[in-house]
Symmetry: C2
Subunit: 312 residues, 2 copies
């Protein structure tokens, strides 16, 4: 059965070995799971020196990990963690097929909207699961990940309630020291995460490469962040995903604990990489518009970021 | 009488000898008017080499102009043209008094809202006139102004209909080769000009230092420019200044003729100078808000530009 639990010792492939892929894959490998990393730019370094994670929860070093230079080297797997930048999604069309067996599940840990749909269209909706990462990470050198804090996951199924395999994946991650929740409705969870990502990732770029504390410290930008959150909540609500309005103040309070945090999109932008504009702003904007929400600030932020990202 | 015409050969002082001050003051001097320039950074160059204007309407060179290093050197004048950056308005508190006689009029050629009010509060409302410049200019070297095109003026009185002196000033400018209109209502004219300045000056900065043709070429940014224009028109309308909606398409069409134009605010920003954020975005935003207009995009643009300008 497609949604049944995976067999004991099931094989996990990780595609996209940036900070997210290395951190979560590394946690699983640290606890003895059968993990295979697709590495590109870091392949030689990781084969030589292994994978290193520096973390407030305790540093760890995996001197030897299964690092492959292509997905045919990995071969059919039971679970594929997808942690590529969403701007490289078309690469998945070639990367994924060699990993597919009859019951292979694809778990996207990518940002925003559109990724589950992308996988479902190409590889079959029944394979697709999604996860949300609440974590502050950066890849600081080849094979070296800096974990600044947080780290929880929320995992669910694409357009269906949790299945036996979903509960198993949640339990496996939890057994490897990762706080992991079961997402009853993945789309609701994605909307909730975007309530934060839309304003903070966006304004950190559009207001001139500033950290989250600088947004909070500027009364006008903080008001603008609240207005953007309200628009995302309205869009979600129109789509049937109710998020209470007081969630806004919860997010503001949570952001205050983060200090001078650089959202991942700001790091991408500042380092001259393409920003995940469509998954974080474009898709929510289009969904909101389609559902009849009034989203003028989200629209404006999306239009500005699209242009800024291209010019980057 | 305060609003009567000025005497024959009346004395004109120009404060703020950047592109605007030198161009319009230069046109008046070219046609024999009694013009005195307050020069600061360009004083020595202009005393030595005079003032040069390169223009599609014909270049001209004024080998000798009255250039003073301070306003006491100029002394009481009949008409003071004020062309300082609005970000330096507080300088006027010291610069203007030495120029004042009993009937001295102050004509601000500065951008946006707030300048007439600033002068009225400090020097008396009856002195204040305002002018709008529709011109593409840049100061390219000390004492050298490049005129790219356009050049008309619209001149009116502060909170009163045109007076004898207003008609006289309009005629004088016109006699010096400048297309000049009488503004029946200066506030309406300022709103009309902001319909262009708000989106094009603003987006040229916020979308990553781009020229007006790049805004028009991006369907989303062009739509955003239209939405911003609609908000400015709504704000103006709520304040009792009716601007027809089809004015938006007139502005788009006019902008198409301008090519790869750099709005003055973009030049300021790109060259690391302070941007006139309050007069172009802040004041219209506050007026719109006070009048009950729905101006989310204007608000967002103002908040972003304020932060971008500070960080510049």
């Amino acid at each position: 059965m497609k949604f049944d639990a995976f067999p004991t010792g099931f094989k996990i492939a990780v595609i996209g070995s940036g900070a997210i892929g290395c951190y979560y894959g590394g946690r699983l490998a640290q606890h003895g799971r059968n993990v295979h990393f697709l590495m590109r730019r870091d392949l030689e370094a990781v084969r030589k020196d292994g994978l290193q994670v520096r973390s407030p929860d305790g540093d760890f070093h995996l001197p030897q990990v299964n690092a492959a230079g292509s997905t045919p080297e990995i071969g059919p797997s039971d679970l594929v963690l997808i942690a590529l930048k969403t701007t490289s999604n078309t690469d998945l069309e070639k990367l994924v097929p060699p990993l597919l067996g009859e019951n292979t599940a694809l778990l996207t840990l990518q940002n925003g909207f559109g990724n589950e749909d992308f996988l479902a269209e190409r590889f079959g909706a029944e394979r697709v699961m999604g996860g949300l990462c609440f974590v502050c990470l950066n890849r600081v050198a080849r094979g070296v990940i800096e974990h600044y804090g947080h780290g929880s996951l929320s995992i669910g199924e694409f357009n269906r309630p949790p299945q036996p395999r979903t509960r198993q994946v949640v339990e496996e991650f939890a057994a490897c020291g990762i706080v992991t929740r079961l997402a009853e409705n993945l789309v609701t969870e994605r909307w909730r995460k975007l309530v934060w990502n839309v304003p903070f990732n966006g304004l950190s770029i559009a207001a001139g490469k500033i950290t989250t504390d600088a947004i909070l410290a500027d009364a006008d930008l903080c008001a603008l962040a609240r207005s953007l959150m309200a628009e995302v909540i309205e869009a979600a609500g129109r789509e049937g995903h109710a998020i209470p309005r007081d969630f806004i103040e919860v997010q503001i309070a949570r952001t205050r604990t983060m200090g001078a945090y650089k959202p991942s999109s700001l790091i991408d932008y500042a380092e001259g990489r393409e920003v995940e504009v469509e998954s974080i702003w474009g898709e929510p904007y289009r969904r909101g518009l389609k559902a009849g929400a009034d989203v003028p600030r989200l629209e404006m932020l999306y239009f500005l970021l699209k242009k800024l990202s291209v010019r980057n």
